[in-house]
């Protein structure tokens, strides 16, 4: 069943819980051996400054609060700018995200170039509150604005030969200093199987927290596939191509033994570097258990029936 994740009206941009509160809580706790055990209670305690805790009542469907806008736009893995997660926002601040064009081509009946402005007009943005689970074992809850990828694909009509979708990130070395690093096979590319791409949860985001999608979060337009590790959710897309063959992806080209094509969040399949059994929700002290398919198993597990997920990692 393709039940979308429920969400209501647009979220205001207030932080649920500022990092300062977290640091305060951590400070109180520092040195305490029971750190992990009592942290969640402390984090839910009222903050000293009520203005700082204008609690957005919003949660994901599991009841977990949104991460703050500040954390979401200041902690980004975006190697086209820098490998320093805190440095991305600064380096991307003048990066133009509008106007933005996406070319959809390959095995489709009507290949076309779309302006993101026009896409927003054709598909009025809906809000989706998704968990984002990075392969580095941290996670956030993020309210995106956008539309399902399937709407765009239906518009260009994939042919019966189309089996996969390939995505490519913009390549602008003059504006993206990280692209000068010779160690990566730029441009960034990603891929999905067509049925994954057509799934209702698979989303193209053009906005964040009720506002624009800033450059560091993947503006002009980015993919969000909430049941896969974050690196599948490619940013700043300029090309979408329908193909018959499974497309190459950037991280599996770099380290094929570590990053597969599917990259479904799976606590049972280990990664040589980071624990995939547990994760740290940004803003929390204790680790929490990672859920199969990042908590979206009910919606997506059927896509992989009969597949060996340890092999197709």
């Amino acid at each position: 069943m393709n039940s979308p994740i429920p969400s209501s009206e647009i979220t205001p941009k207030q932080a649920y819980l500022s990092r300062r509160d977290f640091i305060k809580a951590a400070g109180i706790l520092a040195g305490s051996m029971a750190l992990a055990a009592c942290a969640p209670d402390l984090l839910n305690a009222p903050a000293s400054d009520p203005a700082e805790l204008t609690t957005s009542a919003k949660t994901d469907e599991l009841g977990d609060p949104l991460n703050s806008h500040k954390d979401i736009i200041n902690y980004n893995n975006y190697y086209e700018f820098t490998t320093d997660k805190e440095g991305v926002a600064r380096l991307a601040q003048n990066f133009p995200t509008s106007p933005w064009d996406v070319e959809v081509s390959g095995l489709v009946k009507t290949p076309r170039k779309f302006g993101v402005e026009d896409l927003i007009k054709s598909f009025p943005p809906e809000e989706r509150i998704y968990r984002l689970r990075c392969v580095e074992a941290w996670s956030m809850v993020i309210p995106w604005l956008g539309f399902p990828l399937s709407k765009l694909l239906n518009l260009v009509e994939p042919t019966s030969a189309a089996k996969y979708v390939r995505f490519e990130t913009v390549f602008k070395p003059a504006e993206m200093p990280g692209l000068k690093e010779p160690w990566y096979p730029w441009p960034y590319q990603e891929g999905l199987r067509l049925d994954e791409a057509m799934h209702d949860l698979t989303f193209l985001a053009t906005g964040l927290y009720g506002g624009e999608l800033p450059a560091q979060s993947g503006g002009g337009i980015r993919l969000v596939v909430p049941w896969k590790y974050g690196f599948k959710s490619i940013k700043a897309i300029v090309k979408i191509e329908l193909t018959a063959e499974q497309p190459a992806t950037m991280w599996s080209a770099i380290a094929p033994n570590e990053y597969g094509f599917y990259a479904n969040v799976n606590p049972a399949v280990d990664h040589p570097r980071w624990s995939q059994a547990s994760e740290r929700r940004i803003g929390e002290l204790a680790r929490r258990d990672t859920l199969p398919f990042n908590g979206y198993a009910e919606q997506v597990a059927s896509l992989y029936e009969g597949m060996d997920l340890a092999k197709n990692y």
Binding site: R19, R20, F22, I23, A26, G27, M33, L35, A36, A37, N67, D71, N74, Y75, Y79, T83, K85, E86, E136, W138, E181, W183, Y184, P185, A253, I254, A255, E258, D270, P272, R273, S275, A277, S278, R280, I282, G283, L285, A286, R287
Partner: protein, 205 residues
Amino acid sequence: MKKARFTALQLLVHGAGWLPLAWLVFDFLTDNLTANPIQAIEQRSGIHAITFLLFSLACTPLASILDWKELPLRRKALGNYGFLYAAVHVATFFILDYGLNLAAIWRDVATKSFIILGAIAFLLLLPLAATSFRFWMKRLGKNWKRLHRLVYLITPLVVVHFFMAKKGDLLNLSGDIFQPFLYGGLAVALLLLRLPPIKKRLSRV
């Protein structure tokens, strides 16, 4: 004139030794440790640890090259600062990151060779740090020097741990490998300078 109690180099070494910790505490108090402070502490302390280990290893060859006799006297302090940051790194991992949840630690550590390498390196550092007191230096005599040669094993272990901690692939020469390359290169150079034929030429200069 009375002789100064501390040499300039000594002040420099101890200043440099405490500075990163002060900086870390300052960033912690001013909410400047990224949205993921535990990882930030883990990574920064790791880098400081390997940096001081390399500083310590650099003393002897640099002393020959620069003919600077005071340098070898400071390598023990530098090594101890390396241990200090390694201890912060390891404590962060066990206490802050995993909340001393031994089951979770075991589940994750058993499958990650880079953590095992780091743990071996840390265990080997322990006797070096413990015997850094003058009492043990006297007591162990020649064996003290022998024992502290363990650092020649610890350094490569830590370099490999560093490479594997980063999101890259050495065999492919791709990914996030610049920094470990730099440290690895320095470590190899500092170890090569100790090979007898090279050492002999250095001391003749």
